[in-house]
């Protein structure tokens, strides 16, 4: 699993360089996110533009981290961008599109957050 990060003043950008967020990598992924949260990151923008498949374990790892952030200060968040149509169908089936803040692309995320 390959994660790239870039720190901006308003959030940490995390890009997942993997085609599949599934049970093979979901624990490692969740651990990485939790590590950043433990280091004090409170707003994370997750770029999923390369991910063309996600299963419930991948979704569950993101929900777990989102819950951790949302129970912190008001405004703490795990935001998502670049979700493909196939992955978005999972969000819609489970109504997680109502739970997460989702941007179409990284550029639209930056426009909204600055």
């Amino acid at each position: 699993m390959d994660l790239e990060t870039e720190k901006y003043d308003k959030f940490l950008l995390v890009s997942l360089n993997a085609k599949r967020l599934d049970s093979s990598i979901s624990r490692e992924f969740e651990t990485a996110l939790n590590d950043w949260i433990a280091k004090g990151e409170t707003r994370i923008l997750l770029d999923l533009s390369l991910v063309d498949f996600m299963d419930s374990s991948g979704m569950g790892s993101m929900v777990s981290c989102l819950k951790k952030l949302k129970t912190g200060n008001n405004g703490d968040d795990l935001m998502l961008c670049g979700i493909t149509e196939q992955v978005l169908s999972l969000f819609k089936l489970t109504r997680m599109d109502r739970v997460f803040t989702i941007f179409d692309s990284m550029s639209s995320a930056f426009k909204a957050l600055y």
């Binding site: 599949r20 599934d22 049970s23 093979s24 498949f53 299963d55 419930s56 374990s57 979704m59 569950g60 929900v63 777990s64 819950k67 949302k70 129970t71 149509e85 196939q86 169908s89 999972l90 089936l93 489970t94 109504r95 997680m96 109502r98 739970v99």
Partner: protein, 146 residues
């Protein structure tokens, strides 16, 4: 369903490991191209197969990397059928708590443990799901009509 001869049939046999589930999913995505179902449904079928296989690893084999999973895929004129077979612990068929969409306004209500999303996805996407335990073998049938 009246049993007939499928137009296509293929049998996969994998060791019950997470990386092998990926192979199964990708294979099913490819096989789905033989059906009239569009690309979005191929992806949903892949999701169902991955969820079912993960559940077998997690619950039937309790994550012990010792078991095997057989998947039979049969394509008929009007539907595609997936049959999983494993020799793990039988499914608990008593009523279980179901997946509930999260309330975005009530974070405290979000479960910390498994959300049972996998079963919900399978039942939402597939038209028919059937399970039986027969002489030490679990059989899970998933059917999607065209």
């Amino acid at each position: 369903m009246i049993p007939t001869t499928p137009d296509y049939a293929i049998h996969y046999a994998i060791k019950a490991k997470a990386m092998n589930v990926r192979l199964l999913g990708l294979s099913v995505r490819g096989v789905s191209a033989l059906t009239p179902l569009g690309k979005s449904f191929s992806h949903q079928l892949e999701l169902c197969i991955v969820e079912a296989a993960n559940n077998i690893i997690r619950h039937a084999y309790h994550q012990i990397n010792d078991g095997h999973i057989d998947l039979f895929v049969r394509i008929f004129k009007e539907y595609i059928e997936f049959e999983f077979r494993d020799t793990g612990i039988p499914i608990n068929t008593s009523p279980q708590p179901a997946f509930k969409p999260l309330d975005p306004q009530n974070v405290a209500s979000w479960p910390d443990e498994s959300m049972k999303m996998g079963v919900f996805l399978i039942q939402s996407i597939m038209d028919e799901t059937r399970y039986r335990h027969d002489r030490g073998i679990n059989h899970l049938h998933l059917i999607k009509r065209f």
